[in-house]
């Protein structure tokens, strides 16, 4: 029994404390968070634009955005990332992290566009008309009536898109970025105790997911109080 605890402690020490390994882990975590956050931010903006075009009445805009969304959603994000890194930006000096942010923005943007579209279409459009009849302009009515309701509808799906995005960023190691996954993998390889290092990595990802869920549920409680 004592041996068991001692073993865990040893692993813990070896993997995370010795040589300030935890600082490296934190650095990797930071890269993961940075790529996820920026990917989500630009992805959401791109998603909103694509969604706007997708529901537009102008046929060419609609078809174009439909095509873009289909291509981006249908292709693996890792291939997109590699294509950008090894082909499109091969000769540029742009930082790999920025390229990763671009790749994840494109991919999550396409997903988020569809999340937004289905939410907007799920809102009772007669309420929008009712607002128009009260004198609201088209855009004013959209922001006052459709958007708040669409946000509520989209929230659960959006939330899982965020968690998905965070987990998919674990592939950035392929393009030389040292993110959380790459860090724990390196540590495991160095110490010869990969199980502990990788397991610890999973725990951190799990923690991130729960952080996302709890951030979303704070918003929920607030909207319930309202």
């Amino acid at each position: 029994m004592i041996n068991f605890f001692e073993g865990i402690f040893n692993s813990f020490y070896k993997n995370l404390i010795a040589g300030d390994a935890y600082l490296i882990v934190l650095k990797g975590l930071w890269v993961t968070i940075l790529i996820s956050f920026l990917g989500l931010l630009f992805g959401t903006i791109l998603g909103a634009v694509l969604c706007f075009l997708r529901i537009s009445k102008i046929k060419i805009l609609k078809k174009t955005s439909q095509f873009i969304i289909a291509v981006l959603r249908g292709s693996p994000v890792l291939l997109l990332l590699m294509l950008l890194y090894y082909v499109a930006f091969a000769n540029s000096r742009i930082d790999a992290v920025i390229i990763a942010v671009i790749a994840f923005s494109l991919n999550s943007g396409a997903h988020i566009a569809e999340v937004m579209r289905s939410a907007v279409e799920a809102v009772d459009h007669k309420q929008l008309e009712a607002a128009r009849m009260l004198g609201f302009s088209k855009s004013k009515a959209f922001f006052a009536i459709t958007l708040p309701q669409a946000a509520i509808i989209a929230k659960p799906v959006y939330q899982s898109a965020v968690v998905n995005l965070i987990q998919w960023t674990s592939v950035v190691g392929y393009v030389t970025i040292t993110d959380l996954t790459r860090t724990v993998n390196n540590i495991g390889a160095r110490t010869g105790d990969p199980f502990f290092a990788l397991f610890f990595g999973i725990l951190i990802y799990l923690g991130l997911s729960y952080l996302v869920y709890s951030l979303f549920s704070i918003g929920e409680k607030r909207s319930e109080l309202k």
Binding site: Q127, E129, A130, A131, M133, F136, Q149, I152
Partner: protein
Amino acid sequence: MIKIAGLTKRFGNLVVFENIHTHIKKGECIALIGPSGAGKSVFFRSLAMLEIPDSGSIFINGTDITKKEVNLNHVREKMGMVYQGFHLFSHLNILDNITLAPVLVKKQDKKAAEKKAMELLSLVGLTDKAGNFPHELSGGQQQRIAIARCLAMEPEIMLFDEPTSALDPTMTGEVLAIIRKLTKMGLTMVIITHEMKFARDVSDRVFYMDEGGIYEEGTPGEIFDHPKKEKTKTFIRKLKIFNYEIVSKGFDLVAMNARIETFCQKYNLDSKQVYYIQLFLEELIVEIFSHCYESSNPEIYITIEYSDESNGISICINYKAAEFNPFENSDDEIDHLGVTLINKMAKKIEYLYEPGLNSVNINL
């Protein structure tokens, strides 16, 4: 107030309505009735340019709102529309539902808007629901809120699109009562409704829409008690009509009887009534045949009308021939047993002759 000139709307080849001309005066309450698919809704929605008419003009207070340069948002501010399905803003509570437009569109002070909203809530009798959300209210209550929401913008025109047809009968009364109140406030109103009694009570004029336009219009008394045109009558009296024509001597009596039976079954007439209808027709046709069409081909038109409302049946037979009243020469009862029978059983029998055309009307 509202003047409509030559308004036309088509969906592809389908003409919804064509060349409508009418004038609705300030403070008037118009009931729009008619069968479904007659273009009531489209006509009604085009009053607010929610449907864009293909041609014609709509003048609201002298401004042609079909013109491109007109700011429809301003026009609509002066109009309130109440929907069949309420369509309250489901993410806002009742008070916010009412104050949203005054605050955001009219830029009213939030406090003042809320004060006004509370007054309106007391008008519709729902002050205690101010903090509730729409889904917590019954249909009738939601509809009253929808009316209050429109009134908050102080409209000049109120449009009601079947305001009670999504409500169960216990709730229609509360909504109709509010609408009645509004008529006394001098608002100009247009109401699409299937509640004939309500339309009659509340409206100043009734438009009956059919055949791609306003088919007949008049005061409630004119439309409901003395409709002039054929389709209006049918609609008002909830008539079900069966037509049959006989233009050859070798006509198929069995087939006609079968069709009458189908017609009667469709409207739940009992078998005794069906039997009488068939019997009367058979006797009369024999009588008419033998008198009028010995040497010529018959031309007999039969109409059976059944009124859902009064449960009455009337049989009308028109035949082109020289004057012949089958009920007159029935002195010899044995020879004309059928006619005698009809004489005894029918509630009312009428005979009319216009040159070349005999018509017999029998009420059962």
